[in-house]
């Protein structure tokens, strides 16, 4: 076995055998699924209770057809009880609230004088739903006054879904844009998490070797550069393994969970959308649209995305973890790392902010493009842009810049690392680091 392989193997084993690694690997997905299930159940529980709403319509404008029961809200006409009696009943009984529609001369005044009484403050979605019902009714009345046929108006409402093409003939739509944002955001966010978790793990491992003084023995057998590289690759492998296990576990657990508790995966994803909006979404999506989405997913450049994901993932991780290794070499203990961490974390966080802030609105805008060239943010920002289709020349520029910077930074970090690991008991400053870089051999 070559020395590099030996080092990678040791680093990998040391990381994987670590108790906290094992705990993190197996408990995180469980926790995640458990939390998802909990949220879902709470939601369901909350929605299960049907809200009883009564109304008193003194205007005589509304009919039973205007207050159609939905899954979560039932309506009852209490007009015959009168306002005071109704209020009393609602106060004493198990009702959600009472809607009081007074008699007014004009629709404009009526629209502003409708009242709702309830024991507790009513939910936003209930109020929105009531308001929209009233607005619709009043609009229809008004249209009637103007002598316009409502049926004609409805017939004139033809939903439009502009199909978007780029010049290479790929079709896209607004819906799929949301999907692309999701895919890009997940990829970018995952990269940031990975870099932070496993970058600091590389750093810690360097500090451990330094404080236990074994580093001098190791570097008398192998080149410091080999040790650094082995450490980075070993930790990255452990991290990838963890992600793989997470993926598999989440899939298995959620499958089991949904089988046991009857939780539908689609429902689970939409669980945090309020019930009323969900209906809107369901209507909008409809049967055909569901098929459309699946078609659109299949139409995404999946292979290209996967290859680029791997490239930027590895490139970004190598770039950052070599910096983390250099920081580890420059200090004697973890508390001293603070001063060097900020310049490393800043571009990472900036990348995510730029990604969420600009790529989503305008994936090909100048800021998004610029940050997808800058090597320290490009892995995150470009990963977010990729699903929207990025031209080959832009990718070529971005990847070349990342590759050059990555090689340069690893070289630079190795110089700091090589000197730093043998410097004990001195807190390094930026000036020291500069001096170390200039040392020969």
């Amino acid at each position: 076995m070559s020395k590099l392989k030996l080092i990678i193997h040791r680093e990998f084993i040391a990381k994987v055998r670590n108790k906290s690694f094992i705990m993190m690997t197996f408990l995180s997905p469980l926790l995640l699924v458990a939390m998802g299930a909990l949220v879902f159940f709470l939601m369901k529980k909350n929605d299960e209770k049907v809200k009883e709403i009564v109304y008193v319509d003194n205007s005589g404008l509304f009919s039973k057809d205007d207050f159609v029961d939905s899954e979560s809200i039932h309506y009852q006409d209490y007009t015959s009880y009168g306002i005071e009696e109704t209020k009393k009943k609602v106060q004493q009984g198990d009702y959600y609230g009472a809607l009081i529609i007074p008699k007014q001369d004009s629709l404009e005044v009526l629209a502003k004088s409708i009242e709702f009484y309830s024991k507790d403050s009513p939910g936003m979605s209930v109020m929105n739903s009531l308001e929209s019902k009233i607005e619709t009714k009043i609009r229809n009345e008004k249209l009637n006054d103007f002598g316009i046929d409502i049926a004609q108006i409805n017939a004139s409402r033809i939903p439009s879904n502009i199909k978007m093409y780029n010049f290479s003939g790929e079709e896209s739509s607004k819906l799929i844009n949301g999907l692309k944002i999701g895919v890009g955001a997940i990829a970018g966010y995952l990269l940031m998490m990975f870099v932070i978790i496993y970058g600091t793990s590389v750093m810690r491992s360097v500090i451990e070797e330094k404080t236990s003084r074994i580093v001098e023995i190791i570097v008398s057998s192998v080149k410091p550069f080999q040790l650094m590289l082995g450490k980075i690759i070993g930790n990255a492998s452990a991290g990838l393994l963890q992600f793989l296990i997470w993926g598999i576990l989440i899939f298995i657990i959620s499958t089991i969970a949904s089988a046991i508790f009857g939780v539908n995966m689609v429902e689970m994803q939409t669980a945090n959308i309020p019930a009323d909006q969900l209906e809107v979404v369901k209507q909008a999506v409809g049967g055909d649209k569901m098929q459309l989405i699946i078609q659109e997913i299949l139409r995404l450049p999946i292979l290209k995305m996967f290859v680029l994901f791997i490239f930027y993932f590895l490139g970004g991780f190598m770039l950052y973890s070599s910096l983390f290794a250099a920081v580890g070499a420059a200090v004697d203990n973890e508390t001293d790392t603070q001063q060097f961490m900020l310049p490393i974390m800043a571009p990472l966080v900036l990348g995510v902010y730029v990604g969420f802030g600009t790529v989503m609105n305008d994936p090909h805008g100048s800021i998004a493009v610029m940050f997808s060239y800058i090597p320290f943010t490009s892995p995150i920002v470009m990963l977010m842009r990729v699903p929207f289709g990025v031209s080959w020349y832009e990718l070529a520029i971005s990847m070349t810049l990342l590759l050059i910077t990555f090689i340069f930074m690893v070289w630079l970090a190795a110089k700091i690392y090589r000197v730093g690991i043998l410097m004990y008991g001195k807190k390094a400053t930026y000036k020291d680091l500069y001096k170390w870089i200039k040392y020969k051999g």
């Binding site: 451990e208 070797e209 003084r213 074994i214 580093v215 001098e216 001096k435 040392y439 020969k440 051999g441």
Partner: protein
């Protein structure tokens, strides 16, 4: 090839600081070579260069007739002053890993480790973590991982620190046995009594320069002052001392004898010999003690460094 290691005109700078200034040291095959010097003199810099942890700015290093190259790391065993092992790694796995980094195959490493673990009677520690061992126990493991690949050149930096006298003796015996089996040993220490005990040759480094090197016996000869410790049984000590001062340089004694003899340190002049001193003494009383004051490694160290400063 008489020398295993030839260090020629090595210069090493760290920024503006010159850690080694034109240092040349030749280490004969099969010897224990003492690398001595005050703290910060440049010993560790030199040792790191031999280990190829750092490269010299100029100068050449020849190991066994060949310019030093990466393959030579397998021929060198290094026990640094700052000891270290992975604390949470098991003893056996760790030793295997370090042996493989030195180029041994896994099976060969296992065989050698078994030999050494049996020899030191520590086989029971194989599955223990380093953090579970005492300091002395960890030092033994450290010694084994230094020597297990049968290196031609062994570098020990303060090998006895952390050992009790019994284990220190055990390690000293092992080191000398390794030399007898053909290994060449560089021995860096501040404990001068162990230099006397073990070293065939020494080099003294002070302030980045080599100020002294050669066979320990030659250096002692070079540093001899022709001074004798004298113990004489006489009834007239005052008179004898006064008489001595006429022909020799006389200093107060720095040693003690059992009786109440006259004790003095007497230095010969250029024109008289030890025999003349002895016959003078025998004519004045009964000689109880007559020994040449040979400079110790400690004296030489202090003298040479002070002179250099």
């Amino acid at each position: 090839m008489r020398n295993l290691l030839e260090i020629n005109n090595v210069v090493k700078n760290y920024g503006d600081f010159r850690a080694l200034n034109d240092v040349s040291i030749h280490i004969p095959k099969g010897s224990v070579y003492g690398l001595l010097g005050p703290n910060g003199a440049g010993k560790t810099s030199l040792i790191r260069i031999i280990n190829q942890i750092t490269m010299p700015d100029s100068g050449s290093i020849i190991l066994d007739g060949e310019p030093l190259s990466p393959k030579h790391t397998a021929y060198i065993g290094y026990l640094p002053e700052e000891r270290g092992l992975y604390k949470s790694m098991k003893v056996g796995e760790q030793a295997l890993y370090l042996a493989q980094l030195k180029g041994l195959s896994k099976s060969e490493a296992k065989k050698r480790l078994k030999y050494w673990f049996d020899k030191f009677d520590i086989s029971a520690w194989w599955g223990k973590k380093i953090e579970e061992l005492s300091k002395g126990m960890a030092q033994k493991v450290q010694f084994i991982v230094t020597v297990m690949h049968n290196p031609k050149l062994l570098i020990f930096d303060e090998p006895f620190s952390g050992f009790d006298p019994i284990n220190a003796q055990l390690i000293a015996k092992e080191i000398l046995q390794l030399r007898d089996e053909g290994a060449t040993i560089i021995f860096s220490t501040h404990r001068m009594e162990s230099v006397e005990e073990m070293c065939d040759e020494i080099a003294l480094i002070n302030k980045s320069n080599k100020i002294l090197d050669g066979k320990l016996s030659d250096i002692k000869r070079q540093f001899r002052t022709n001074t004798f410790q004298v113990g004489l049984h006489t009834d007239h000590p005052k008179e004898v001392e006064a008489k001595l001062k006429e022909n020799f340089e006389v200093f107060p004694a720095d040693f003690k004898l059992l009786g109440n003899e006259l004790t003095l340190n007497v230095k010969l002049n250029e024109n008289n010999s030890a025999n003349e001193l002895l016959s003078f003494l025998t004519s004045r009383g009964q000689v109880q003690h007559f020994v040449e004051l040979i400079p110790s490694a400690n004296d030489i160290f202090i003298q040479a460094v002070n002179k250099n400063n």
